[in-house]
C-alpha cells in the first residue's frame, strides 16, 4: 500500500486500468505522442527535407511533403561556399578548449572552496555567486571593452580563442554545482588521505575526481553546448571570417546566399549538438534538474 502511493500521481493507477479511464488514457497518449512528434520533430523534418528542395519547389503552393527531386547540391553548396569545414573546426576547437579550461579552473576552485576552505573563501564564493544576478546583456559592452584592451597587460584578445575560453571560466553556476557535489564527499576520506601524507593536489586527483565523474561529465557537456549555441559574444570577439563560429558564419552569409543553402548549413550546424544530446541525454537531463531543483 505504502509502496503503491510512492508512484501515485495526479490520477490513480487503478483508475487508469479500468474501462473508461483506460480508454481515455490510451487515446490521450496517442494524441500526445502524435502531436508532440508533429510539433517538435515536424519542423526538423521540414528543415532537413526543405533544404533538399529546389528554389522553385520551395516556393510552390501548397508546399510538397517530400522533395520531388532531392537536390543534395544545396548541402554541397552550403559546405563549400560557407567553408563549413573551417567553421565547424573553429567551433569544435573553442568548445574543446572551453571544456578544458572550465574543468581545470572551476574544479580546482570548487575543491578549494569545499575542502581546503582558505581564509576569505566564503567572501570569494559570495562574490562569484553574485555574478549570477547580473544579466549577460548588461555586461556585454564593458566585457568587450575589456577584451580588446586587457587591464594592466594591454593585450588585445580579439580573434584569439582565449577571448572565448577565459570568460567561460567565470561561470558561477559550474562552481556552485561542483562545490555542492564535493561537499557531499565525506570529510573522513580527505582526512585519511592527509594522514597518508597525500598533498591536496594528489587528494583531488586520486580521490575526489574519480568520485566526481558524473558531475564533471555534466559540466563538460553543458560547456560544449554553451559554446555551440552562443551567438552574440563570439560574433563580437571573433570578427574575422577565419575565426568565426558556425552560427556566426551562417548568419554572416545569410544575406547573400540562397535560402535553401542557408537552411542546409543550419542543418549541418545543428547535427553535432543533436548527436551529443542523443548520446548523453541521461546525463544532460539529470544535470539540468540537479542544478536547479535544490539550488
Amino acid at each position: 500500500m505504502a509502496q503503491d502511493s510512492g508512484t501515485r500521481t495526479l490520477v490513480s493507477q487503478s483508475q487508469l486500468r479500468r474501462g473508461r479511464g483506460r480508454a481515455i488514457y490510451w487515446t490521450l497518449l496517442a494524441v500526445v505522442v502524435v502531436g508532440f512528434t508533429l510539433v517538435f520533430l515536424g519542423p526538423l523534418y521540414w528543415m532537413v527535407t526543405g533544404a533538399l528542395k529546389s528554389g522553385q519547389e520551395i516556393a510552390q503552393t501548397p508546399p510538397s511533403l517530400f522533395p520531388k527531386d532531392p537536390q543534395v547540391q544545396n548541402y554541397v553548396d552550403a559546405w563549400n561556399n560557407l567553408k563549413l569545414a573551417k567553421l565547424l573546426f573553429n567551433t569544435f576547437y573553442y568548445a574543446a578548449g572551453a571544456v578544458l579550461f572550465q574543468l581545470v579552473f572551476d574544479t580546482a576552485a570548487a575543491y578549494s572552496l569545499s575542502k581546503l576552505r582558505p581564509v576569505l573563501g566564503n567572501v570569494i564564493l559570495g562574490l562569484m555567486l553574485a555574478t549570477l544576478m547580473i544579466p549577460a546583456m548588461v555586461l556585454i559592452v564593458p566585457q568587450y571593452v575589456t577584451v580588446i584592451d586587457l587591464p594592466i597587460l594591454h593585450i588585445n584578445l580579439l580573434d584569439s580563442p582565449f577571448s572565448i575560453w577565459l570568460p567561460l571560466v567565470a561561470n558561477a553556476f559550474n562552481i556552485f554545482l561542483l562545490k555542492r557535489f564535493f561537499d557531499s564527499i565525506p570529510e573522513d576520506l580527505m582526512a585519511a588521505a592527509f594522514v597518508d601524507g597525500a598533498t591536496p593536489l594528489r587528494t583531488l586527483w586520486s580521490i575526489i575526481l574519480p568520485m566526481s565523474r558524473p558531475i564533471l561529465g555534466v559540466v563538460a557537456i553543458f560547456s560544449v553546448t554553451a559554446v555551440w549555441k552562443d551567438f552574440l559574444w563570439p560574433k563580437l570577439v571573433m570578427p574575422s571570417p577565419e575565426t568565426r563560429t558556425v552560427s556566426v558564419g551562417i548568419y554572416a552569409f545569410a544575406g547573400g546566399t540562397p535560402m535553401n543553402v542557408v537552411i542546409a548549413a543550419s542543418v549541418i550546424a545543428a547535427i553535432p549538438t543533436v548527436i551529443i544530446f542523443l548520446i548523453f541525454q541521461r546525463n544532460i537531463m539529470s544535470g539540468l534538474t540537479a542544478g536547479s531543483l535544490k539550488g
Binding site: 497518449l29 519542423p43 578549494s112 570569494i124 544579466p135 556585454i140 571560466v169 552560427s247 537531463m285
Partner: protein
C-alpha cells in the same frame, strides 16, 4: 593528527598559539587553498567583477577622439531622449508578458500531462528537449525562411490554408511580429522548463493526491490544491529566471526581424544596446542603457524576493 583532520571553517581566526609551527602550517594551508582558487578568481576579476565596475564608470563618461571625459548623466539623458528607447522597452515588456503566458503556463501543463503517462516517457522527454539543443541561429533560420514565409508556400500559412483559416504576414506584420517571436522562442526553450517541472512533480508525495481524491476533489481541484502549492517554489523561481531571460531578448529580433522589424515592432532593449555599442560607435550610451536594464531587472528581482518571503 587532530589538527589535520578538521580544516578550520573559512573566516575562523586561528587561536593565538605559542606554537609557531601550527601558525606556519595554517599559513601554508591557506596558501594552498588560494593557489587552487587563483585561476577562477582571475577570470572572475577580469571578465565579471571588473567589467561590472567598468560599465558603471563608462556610463558616466564620454570618449571622443581618444579623449575620455566625465559627463555626468549626459549618456543617460541622451539614451532616454531617443524615441526608440521607449519603443524598445514597450516591445521588451510585451515580449516578456506574452512569453510568460505561453512559455510559463504551457511547460507546466505539458509536464503535468507527461507525468501521468506510464508509456513513451523517454521518447516524449527527448522530443520536448530536442529543440533546446539546436543552435538558436539554426532554429531561427528555420522559422524565418520556412515557417514564417508570408506567402502561401510557408509552412504555417500552408497549415492555416489547409484549415481554411486566414493566412498571416508573420514578421512583415507589425502586430504579428511579437507573437511570432514568442512562438519561436517558446518552441526553442520550453524543454528545460518541462524537465525541471517533471522532476519537481515527481517529488510530490502520492498520499496528498490520495487524500484529496478521498475528499472528492476532481482532477482540476487536485491540480489547484495539491500540484500547484507543492511546486510553488520551483514555479516562482522559474518564473523569475524566465523574466530575466526574456527581458534580454536579442537573437530573435536580430535573425527573425533583421533587428528592428517592420515599423520598429521588434526592437528590444538588448538590441538597442547592441546598436548603440557596435554600430553607432556609442559604447558609453550602450553602457548607460545596460545600467538602466540592470536596475529594472534588479527591481523585478526585489519584488520577487519580497513576494516569495512574505508567503513563507
Amino acid at each position: 593528527m587532530a589538527v589535520i583532520t578538521a580544516p578550520a571553517p573559512a573566516g575562523h581566526k586561528a587561536p593565538a598559539s605559542p606554537a609557531g609551527g601550527r601558525r606556519s602550517r595554517k599559513l601554508r594551508d591557506n596558501l594552498t587553498g588560494h593557489t587552487f582558487l587563483i585561476g577562477a578568481v582571475l577570470c572572475f576579476a577580469l571578465f565579471m567583477w571588473y567589467p561590472m565596475i567598468r560599465g558603471l564608470v563608462m556610463s558616466f563618461q564620454r570618449t571622443r577622439r581618444g579623449e575620455t571625459t566625465w559627463v555626468g548623466w549626459d549618456n543617460y539623458i541622451r539614451i532616454i531622449d531617443d524615441p526608440s528607447f521607449w519603443i524598445a522597452w514597450k516591445n521588451t515588456f510585451y515580449f516578456t508578458a506574452l512569453a510568460l503566458v505561453l512559455g510559463f503556463a504551457v511547460p507546466f501543463f505539458v509536464a503535468i500531462l507527461l507525468n501521468e503517462f506510464r508509456h513513451a516517457k523517454g521518447y516524449l522527454r527527448i522530443l520536448v528537449y530536442l529543440p533546446v539543443m539546436l543552435p538558436p541561429a539554426s532554429a531561427l533560420f528555420l522559422f524565418k525562411f520556412y515557417a514564417y514565409d508570408p506567402s502561401e508556400a510557408g509552412l504555417f500559412n500552408a497549415i492555416l490554408t489547409a484549415l481554411n483559416l486566414p493566412t498571416s504576414e508573420w514578421m512583415q506584420s507589425p502586430t504579428m511580429t511579437m507573437p511570432a517571436m514568442v512562438l519561436a522562442s517558446t518552441w526553442m526553450n520550453m524543454g528545460s522548463a518541462v524537465l525541471i517541472y517533471l522532476a519537481a512533480l515527481q517529488n510530490i508525495p502520492g498520499e496528498l493526491y490520495e487524500a484529496a481524491e478521498l475528499d472528492g476533489a476532481g482532477i482540476w481541484k487536485r491540480i489547484w490544491n495539491v500540484t500547484i502549492p507543492q511546486t510553488r517554489l520551483i514555479l516562482a523561481l522559474l518564473a523569475m529566471l524566465q523574466i530575466v531571460a526574456t527581458m534580454q531578448l536579442f537573437i530573435e529580433p536580430l535573425i527573425l526581424a533583421n533587428g528592428a522589424g517592420t515599423q520598429d515592432s521588434a526592437t528590444s532593449v538588448a538590441y538597442l544596446i547592441y546598436q548603440h555599442g557596435f554600430f553607432q560607435n556609442d559604447l558609453n550610451g550602450a553602457a548607460a542603457l545596460g545600467m538602466i536594464m540592470l536596475v529594472v531587472l534588479a527591481a523585478f528581482s526585489a519584488v520577487y524576493v519580497r513576494l516569495s518571503t512574505k508567503e513563507d
